[in-house]
């Protein structure tokens, strides 16, 4: 287990009100970082942020104005920004191959893809001002392997991995590390009704803290 000390460092976690994001907030706080929690769920963000000694910000990551404003707010509040975890995400909710709910598809792309693009664009200048930093993005195993039951989710998570690979190389010289997390299935609300299928087939699920605390092999 890492013994890294993040005291004096400042982190921003999107989708931090629940599931994986909340576990990441707790881990960052345990390591000593000051944490800002951004989520659509204002009450949940407040609960997680308060427990971590951080601040909560309510906002929709699909709005291009939100992440620049949040980054500015975090820098104003804490004086710097060192770590950004772009974690908010949603499931496809449809196969979308031969029948498409366009509004749902646009929302999926908004949360899973646009948010990552807006997030990097807003965060990178702040991380440069801090002398470097880390940007972690929660993709999925569906970012590396096909998930035939949810092709649109697969599309968005592959897009994120491609973006991370290219942006990671582009920003390495600035001392900014961009990397992706590609977890298997995690026991969170995102599973929705599929959770019962995992239970029925006794398929092992990860816990959110398995993701936040995973040591490197």
């Amino acid at each position: 287990m890492s013994t890294v000390d993040l005291t004096g460092r400042v982190a921003l976690v999107t989708g931090g009100a629940g599931g994986i994001g909340a576990a990441v907030v707790r881990r960052l706080a345990r390591l000593g970082a000051s944490v800002a929690v951004l989520d659509l769920d204002a009450a949940g963000a407040q609960r997680i942020a308060s427990a971590a000694g951080g601040i909560a910000i309510a906002g929709d990551v699909t709005d291009p104005a939100v992440l620049p404003a949040v980054v500015a707010q975090v820098e104003k509040e804490f004086g710097r920004l060192d770590i950004v975890h772009l974690n908010a995400g949603i499931g496809g909710g449809q196969t979308g191959i031969d029948a498409l709910d366009v509004a749902r598809y646009r929302k999926l792309v908004g949360v899973n893809v646009d948010h990552v693009v807006y997030g990097l664009c807003a965060a990178v200048p702040a991380l440069r001002r801090a002398g470097g930093g880390k940007i972690v993005i929660t993709s999925s195993l569906a970012g590396l392997a096909a998930m035939p039951s949810d092709p649109l989710y697969t599309l968005t998570k592959h897009a994120v991995v491609g973006y991370v690979r290219a942006a990671g190389k582009a920003l390495a010289a600035d001392g900014i590390v961009v990397a992706a997390l590609c977890p298997g299935f995690v026991d969170t609300l995102l599973l929705g009704a599929a959770k019962e299928e995992f239970v029925a087939m006794e398929f092992p699920l990860l816990t959110p803290s398995d993701i936040a605390d995973a040591p490197r092999r």
């Binding site: 290219a166 997390l181 590609c182 990860l206 040591p215």
Partner: protein
Amino acid sequence: MITEAEPGEAWIIQPGGQASAYQFRGVPGVGGGQMPPDVVLGRV
């Protein structure tokens, strides 16, 4: 993860284990040799 990742890595996390960086295969260069240049597409 936050502290150990290297640029551009994609970390796989599955039940019962540690995280590891996925090893991408890469693509072959022209005739198995020279790789294409890194350019901005669509710039006018």
